[in-house]
Symmetry: C2
Subunit: 330 residues, 2 copies
């Protein structure tokens, strides 16, 4: 029921995801009549699609604590309960991020050894892509927390890329008098002593050069970085459109260049990267962008399918246990 | 002598700046013979250009403390001395940022009421531009320091834009459970009680939407944001070139669209925004990007010209005094 468009986006996205993944079953959680209407509007049916009724809806601006205490029959809460009881293997939501995180943490609990969830997403790089975390679940993260992010990022990235030891970079500032802050310096020491494939500091521009498979940072910094990426990409698109719309000649040039511009646009399309993982929970929860369209929301469902197939929570535990085992023997 | 190219860039940039600003006189500080050679290579002369010899050079990777204590006859130190003694009205350098900051702070001293310098630059927005600080001079900035950044940013922006009360935004994260950290929340309170035109929180994407004339943030966050901007812009340019180079047809489309693509490129050209201000000093010091070319370095000189004409240090003191006066009467 969440996000900017509710079932009008989630239902068509569900059909897209079902046709993409023949092994997938989807339970649409929310107000039954509203969901049924949205399904009828699609003029499609599927035996792999079912509805689970939930009476309440968490508002996009609602306080997480209110949603957690006050709305026990919200679509969000009920969907996470389905994961807890094993009826569903993952939950995908475009709803209120804070409420989703608080509810998921309360219902599913954290994995042993992980203190708080972290938000991780994929970002494009010049020749591929990278995973970045945390993107806003934690502010003022200390060195130990940054190490936990690295463990979780390594587990997810090894699953997503079929890669044994993904490289880990620590986001830092490079040129200035004080190179980084104390927390980052201490995290670098912890990472250097860990069994992770730590490659050192990465600066903001290094993310997009593909400097590391996993980029670790505090959630405040990561959130600003992510939103900056969105802002710059939108501004550049806007400039380009303006230049092509300047006069009949530039419009004609734009028409001729259209196939190229479309191919280019697809490469920076944020819809290809929708679906952030809430890592560190005893269960899989994927957060879609609130403004996602059906194509984009289906990408988030695909992320859930991947994480279920690869059993990311167990992988996180294993990487963490390797870490602990190493600490005990060293 | 600093930057990636030394006099080979600074000297042609000096001639560009002299022709742009008829009232400008430039003193090139550094190794006389090297500078003279670079001038001869330009096959130009100007009565408004002179050389001031300095024997040493600060390396780009040298520790600021070493440069400060060990190289008293470096081009950087001598140039800042010229500002101190009143021979020059501003110093422009493409050298080691940390050393420049430490030396400027040591020689020129801070303005009364300002604790540490902040680095401020202009960034493009959808319909104009914005000033952002700090970009890396300070990490873990507390609320009072963020307020000082706002004061300095307001003074510089009012000078640059001929604007009475520029709007001030505080960079924050918006969507998550914990909205911001304690320092940012406290800074919002201080800004709300100040006489500055504070408009509230701005998220990373808001910077490029032109949400505020001045964006205030901690230097760690600001540096990551700035480098991210560079990284995303470069990645997008790279993608676009790749798409236009895909085959003879796309190459042809690129040729036809070339004038539009050039106009577009000019709008996102970082050379148009070169020249970061080291604010809060008793003097004007401008930092050019180390990899700047002559066009770009000339932009940094223009920034110095602007700040001299508008007497930005005095403006900062005035905004600060207004702030203090208000606190005393309230």
């Amino acid at each position: 029921m969440g996000g900017d468009f509710g079932p009008d986006v989630v239902v068509p996205a569900a059909f897209k995801a079902l046709s993409r993944h023949p092994e997938l079953n989807l339970i649409l959680v929310g107000q039954e009549t509203v969901i049924e209407q949205a399904i009828q509007a699609q003029k499609k049916t599927s035996e792999r699609l079912s509805i689970h009724h939930a009476t309440e809806i968490v508002g996009m601006d609602e306080l997480p604590s209110q949603a957690l205490r006050g709305k026990k029959d919200s679509s969000m809460r009920v969907a996470i309960n389905l994961v807890k009881e094993g009826t569903a293997q993952a939950c995908v939501s475009a709803g209120n991020t804070g409420a989703l995180m608080a509810t998921a943490r309360f219902v599913l609990k954290m994995l042993p050894g992980i203190d708080r969830p972290a938000i991780c997403t994929t970002l494009p790089t010049i020749e591929g892509h990278t995973h970045v975390l945390d993107l806003g679940a934690n502010v003022d993260s200390d060195a130990q927390t940054l190490l936990e992010f690295a463990v979780m990022g390594a587990a997810l990235t090894s699953a997503a890329n079929n890669q044994h030891q993904p490289t880990i970079g620590l986001l830092n500032i490079g040129e200035e008098e004080i190179k980084g802050n104390e927390r980052v310096k201490e995290a670098a020491r912890l990472l250097g002593n860990s069994h992770l494939n730590y490659i050192g500091y990465v600066e903001g521009d290094g993310i997009f050069k593909g400097a590391a498979d996993v980029i670790v940072c505090d959630g405040f910094v990561g959130n600003v970085m992510l939103k900056t990426t969105e802002g710059v990409a939108k501004m550049i698109s806007y400039y380009m459109k303006q230049e092509f719309k300047r006069n009949p000649l530039t419009l004609l040039a734009g028409l001729i260049a259209m196939p190229v511009l479309k191919a280019f646009k697809k490469r920076i399309d944020p819809r290809e990267y929708n679906g952030a993982s809430l890592l560190g929970l005893q269960g899989i929860v994927i957060k879609s962008h609130g403004s996602a369209d059906a194509y984009s929301f289906a990408t988030a469902i695909s992320e859930a399918v991947l994480e279920v197939k690869k059993d990311v929570p167990t992988r996180i535990t294993r990487v963490l246990e390797g870490q602990v085992a190493e600490r005990q023997t060293s």
